[in-house]
Symmetry: C2
């Protein structure tokens, strides 16, 4: 309503405010620290409710700080509500420590969506990675019960398997997992980034989506699946329309990449200020998020590889075991270069957008 | 050392990292939330150690959240140190809850400065305002003992009086207070912003510094005082060189303005990327900080005055008493428009810089 005058003053649109519920770290960029600046650079006010307040991410092994108890989170949300400060247009939830805290968050999000069904809710069900769960198992049913509230979810491969209780090892199991998310849990938008392109998946992926490099082992698949409304009642039934792209793998481990990516997907979803493109809202948002995340990663890798030799150690558990500081030095050098890449994040310097492409035959030929 | 290559990639310099030790609020912009984005937009990495983690600032009356205990802060700093993450090039301390926590912060800052005397430390001795102390009295001696460590301090008028134990009511007492800060406490740079231009001060302030408006009651004085090295041994002795400017008062109360201003002073101090100006580092930094802070305030006021009538209530304790939500609505509408003003903060859209001018006869005629 009042946006016209302000736009003139600031030469920018006012896309709204994001309630971001995730971890805080003093040093480095994971969780809320990886999400906040990127969203602010897209014009969002960001309300940060910290689920933990730590010195650094867990990759450093040694961590200081505190976790918010369920009671503390409940009180925080309750006071914000009483003060009329729970007024987001979008909600982003990421790492939440433990089932009790998660159920408080779930209750708050449910209430918010009941009051305003237009809120866009991105749920990143942070539970684990690479076949390892790093939360207790009792959060799994809670995340499942939250799925139907989400506008967009951004699980990784392992989290999809965990949520759907499906080991994904071929086309049929991949179909089944996506079907469970779209139909059993009614999720309209599913984004799975960074899928290792194993042989069966490579064989499945059509050439126009596979990245045009000779060695496919070195690329990752990013998949965006948009539920087809009332798909079940049409002939040639398809649960979703699938879009995908491959990105070159950047070797080594960088923390906070998923948190950055999720924030960008939410920030760009249905964003009126984004340039018009021939893609629907989800694949367009994912294209921009993928492009920016990859550019930040490249900037980070470039920085890491410019450090003195003992600051840029390779991932090697054996050597790390002999010298605990070796791992810490590597972590430090690999913190995302968000501040240095702020023109990437704002979109002023991203170059060509890595567009997702439609995977027409994903569910089989028509 | 590695900055050259990165500058090309990002078209920006890398000025370093700021350790910011202050309050966090989920909603709105005070403390760390008012400091972080402005510093990031100047290119600094910001390490945020939260002294409190609150739902909102105290102006809302109702607050949820937690305070970090002295033990928690100590553990946080200790783990950061062990992980090699206490490596700032600049330090910013603001609101710290209680003497115990403040002494932990003081010890950490002292250690950091011993290890690296080149660290620029801005101390904002947040204690109170308008003749009201909002911390316990036992923090006063702690702040006094921290003064000699600071590169820059940004007390308000009341905090200057409290630190120097001097009621400032004329030129002589103002001289005395500044002398105590520069000489007894060896502070090289003192910045006092937002000084109400009472009659005696208006009479004292030379015309080239007074703002060229008819009604001087509506302006505030900002004063930057740079200690003269070895001033004591020269004839015509002056403890400092004083620069000043007047800014028009924007009516009503806005929270976080001092926190924003201090962050910008630190960010712009001795900043190689700032355009060259005929001013020394302190008054140049203060000129930029003043210009940006004032522009953000104008943007915020413009937004607040565009809200529906019941969201833009005037400051009126009597009416607030009858309707507690009245105050809350006012606070909400007056949160600083930092995100919307990010082109002001980055310097892309600030217009003419409000330059501080030298106050040659501040200490009396030569």
């Amino acid at each position: 309503m009042v946006r016209g005058a302000l736009q003139m003053a600031t030469a920018d649109s006012d896309p709204g405010r994001v309630l971001s519920v995730q971890s805080h770290v003093a040093y480095g960029y994971v969780g809320g620290k990886a999400a906040t600046l990127p969203l602010q650079l897209l014009g969002y006010d960001v309300d940060n409710v910290n689920t933990v307040d730590f010195s650094n991410h867990s990759g450093y092994n040694r961590i200081g700080g505190t976790k918010a108890t369920a009671e503390e989170l409940e009180r925080m949300f309750s006071v914000m509500e009483q003060n009329g400060l729970l007024s987001p247009t979008r909600v982003l939830t990421g790492f939440i420590f433990g089932a009790e805290a998660l159920s408080i968050v779930a209750r708050t999000v449910t209430k918010l969506l009941q009051n305003d069904p237009n809120i866009v809710y991105l749920l990143d069900p942070v539970m684990g990675d690479a076949n390892r769960l790093y939360v207790s198992r009792d959060v799994i049913p809670l995340y499942r019960s939250l799925l139907p509230k989400a506008s967009i979810i951004t699980p990784n491969w392992f989290e999809v398997e965990t949520l759907t209780d499906t080991k994904i090892e071929d086309g049929a199991s991949l179909h089944k997992a996506l079907m469970i998310l779209h139909e059993t849990y009614s999720v309209p938008n599913v984004v799975i980034s960074s899928i290792p392109l194993e042989q069966w998946l490579r064989d499945l992926t059509p050439p126009h989506i596979r990245f045009p490099v000779s060695d496919d082992e070195q690329s990752l698949l990013c998949l965006a699946s948009v539920r087809v409304a009332n798909g079940g009642s049409t002939p040639g039934y398809r649960p979703s329309t699938v879009y995908a792209a491959c990105v070159p793998l950047i070797p080594g481990y960088f923390s906070g990449v998923g948190d950055l990516f999720s924030a960008l997907v939410l920030g760009h979803y249905d964003d009126a200020s984004s340039a018009p493109a021939p893609l629907p809202p989800l694949p367009r948002a994912v294209s921009l998020a993928l492009t920016k995340t990859h550019a930040i990663l490249r900037l980070t890798e470039k920085y890491a590889s410019s450090l003195p030799p003992d600051e840029r150690t390779t991932t090697d558990d054996e050597l790390d075991g002999k010298d605990p500081d070796r791992r810490i030095r590597r972590m430090r050098g690999r913190e995302l270069r968000l501040v240095q890449g702020r023109k990437i994040l704002s979109g002023e310097a991203i170059g060509e957008v890595r567009q997702l492409k439609k995977w027409a035959d994903f569910w089989g030929p028509k």
